[in-house]
């Protein structure tokens, strides 16, 4: 098992280097550069050339990449061109917000999606099943920015229950309660768009399982419906569910850009977006590598969970 984990982690290194080359090439291929973004529209080409020189952007591209890679291998992701601070500092300051948002959104998604999927599977073909799936499809299809605006409008502007955005109130000091109030709407918005897919997947996985012989056996030997569904069926249906949860989790860690933007929730997704807009290559590289690493780790954890869920799966 340890060997398996070590090999998996080591095998990510070439993947990360490959991603860094790709991101480097893509950002460089897009028209516009950080010097141009920094100086604004009024600057002349002469001004831009002067700043490019000051920022070291006039060096040949392979040399720029090699210099970055050399530092990156020593865990130094460089400095943000726009913000003039180390990229690792920026990532760590945003990490807390991103993790909070992702975990809470996933908790919302699991709390609503799993029971909805199980319920729909138990009453397959019924009006309840169809209604649940229609709602799930609706949630799945809803653009997150639209849902976010809707939630702000109803729960913040109209009802005044939650703040409209940001990560903390401007009029009171930082506190857990302050942060929690700001967290609910963005995580709900993000969670609700994940619920649909999760409910539908849970339903189909459960439907496949409940037709199996061992479920019939469980029922024949007199187990209650509750025990049959929640202990026997759901655990066996969990492998595909865990797979999608893992994939979603990795996606949410870096992909919640729209939610973060609508709610002014300053996380890593927003940081990457800012970096792209200003062609701040070290920020984009650092952010994307972080997300890639998060994907790899979440996938690894997901794989390891298979072994727990299905004892027949073993890693050597």
């Amino acid at each position: 098992m340890r060997r398996y984990v070590a090999v998996r982690i080591l095998s990510t290194l070439p993947v990360l280097v490959g991603i860094s080359v790709l991101v480097f090439a893509l950002v460089k291929a897009v028209p516009g550069d950080p010097a141009s973004a920094l100086l604004g529209p009024e600057a002349t080409p002469q001004d831009v050339a002067m700043l490019r020189d000051a920022l070291g952007l006039e060096k040949p591209l392979p040399m720029q990449y090699a210099l970055w890679l050399k530092k990156a291998l020593a865990a130094d992701l460089g400095r943000s061109i726009q913000k003039r601070v180390p990229v690792t500092d920026l990532l760590f300051s945003r990490l807390r917000n991103t993790v909070m948002l992702t975990v809470t959104a996933m908790a919302f998604a699991l709390a609503l999606g799993l029971p909805a999927g199980v319920l729909a599977a138990r009453r397959a073909g019924s009006a309840l099943d169809r209604a649940t799936m229609v709602v799930a499809l609706f949630g799945n299809s809803m653009p997150v920015f639209w849902l976010g605006i809707l939630l702000i409008l109803v729960f913040s502007v109209h009802l005044g229950w939650f703040p409209t955005g940001g990560t903390a109130s401007l009029r009171e000091g930082p506190s857990f309660g302050n942060t929690l109030r700001h967290l609910i709407l963005p995580s709900l918005a993000l969670g609700l768009v994940t619920v649909g897919g999760l409910a539908r997947l849970t339903r189909s996985a459960m439907l496949e399982i409940v037709g199996q012989d061992y479920i019939r056996t469980a029922r024949a030997k007199g187990l209650s419906q509750y025990r049959t569904i929640w202990y026997h069926a759901l655990k066996n249906a969990a492998v595909p569910i865990v797979t999608i949860v893992g994939a979603q989790f990795g996606f949410l860690l870096g992909g919640a850009v729209l939610t973060e933007t609508v709610f002014g929730w300053t996380g890593i997704g927003l940081l990457i977006y800012e970096g792209i807009a200003t062609r701040d290559l070290p920020v984009v590289l650092g952010g994307v590598l972080f997300v890639a690493l998060a994907f790899v780790i979440v996938n690894l954890v997901t794989d390891l969970m298979y072994g727990y869920l299905d004892p027949r799966i073993r890693y050597g």
Partner: protein, 546 residues
Amino acid sequence: MDFYDCGDVLTRRQALHRFGLAAFGTLAAPLLTAGRDASVVLAGAPPTPGGTPVRGGTLALSLDGIPGANISPATSGVAEIVLGMHVYEGLVAPDPVTGAGVRPVLAESWQVSPDGRVYTFRLRRGVTFHDSTPFTAEAVELNFRRLRDPNSRFFFKIGEAVSNIVFRLTDRVEVADDYTVRYHMRERDPDFIYLLRRPQALFMSPTVIKQFTPDEAGKHPVGTGPFRLTEQQEGTRYTLERFSGYWDGAPYLERLVYRPGLDPTASVAALLAGELDLLTEASYDTIDRLKGRFVPFEWGPEFHWTVTLNTRHPFTRDVRVRQALNYALNREAWVQGIFKGFAKPARGPATTGYPAWNPGLRGYPYDPDRAKALLAAAGYESGVRVKAMIPTTGVPLAQEIGQSIQADLRKVGIDLRYDALEFNAYFSRFRQGLTEEHIFGVSWWASDFLAFLEQQLSQSRWPPNGVNRGWYHNAEADRLLTAGREESNDEKRKAIYQRAERIIVNDAPWLFTVYFRRIGLKSQKVQSIRSYASQTPDYSKTWLKR
């Protein structure tokens, strides 16, 4: 010169603005309170009669973008500049009401030598930085060396490039005595004083410059301004406390608190929910809808929404075509439809705030028939298909005005298509000057200094040396623009520039569109907002009605 610098974050803001505000407008309409009609307030206007300023309180604001840690005069990010403008001050600033002109701040007075190459400033006495360092001529000189002297150990190379726009022609700063400094120019620059209003010409504490490395100094923002930056929670909140030792009287407000990273939709929602006290900018639709409940206020200088025509393009090379395009624009309809009345039709390149503004200038009234006749005379009777370039984000109202231009030109037989580019990509190309592919590119400019016409339209300012991106050239206009720069008498200069402007308007190197100012929305309790040089209003005299 003052350009509405939009930078990185407006890109994101405006991307969201496009779908976000539309969605918000649709959804919010029934929930918004329609109330009494409130007229627009000018920044810096005196308080309403009977209003006595009250001390204390926090002004909650939204910050456009998320600033980095370097809040120094040598940054150019919008968010950093907004924070820095409250912390730092320069020798001069614009008028607090019009947002144009020049008023003394850390300079008490100044003189320009007859040859226009030496500016002598008498500095204000009794001014201290937030760290108690006195403001003297040494501070001025050290700040200059930090940005411009490669041999100084305080030299900040990035700052040199960022400040080039201000100090391009400045050779050195001489300390005459503790409270007198002289800026020596490499060549005559009669409008240097206007450049000193810009964020790059503000002063940071010499103690900080000496204590930290050039790159680190910006992380310790210490200026002479009315507020001290006391808290920076990256991505969460930025707090500025009142500086009790401020030379012009401590601000009434206890503090300013900024929330970063809110998009326009979320900002409006936060204003409605009472989480913010004002928005420095809002869409014209939002202002129109909320002007009963909140008070619109104009601030900053007047801008011209500029369409630079390509005088090298086979189509727009012909002056009759350029005139025809100007006659084809229904500016009054734009003012009412797009700007909800908060703009004026343009009559020439310079705005009404231009020191040599000519009220007799007629410009190009809406006359599609005349436009068609001119096009026919130029050989385009049966219509033409052409392309222009426009940014998808970053220039205010680019989509709306772009579509209006398209619609107006279609009526005179011109089929206009756009190459729409993302802001950064757009300006990287436009900055090099228009190519034969496009008949125009767009931007927006303030024109509250006399050399504006020369800066924009003289041949000497063709890229890469300047911003005459449509390659306009008229020998007589150039001669007058040069003569204007050489003239030391302001009244004579104005007369020369007015003559040059008449030639330019006749040549129509731009589409003269509309003049507009930035407009924000504030709650009824916020009083006395003043204009500042750029990016943010000045809250040093602001107070909250209880």
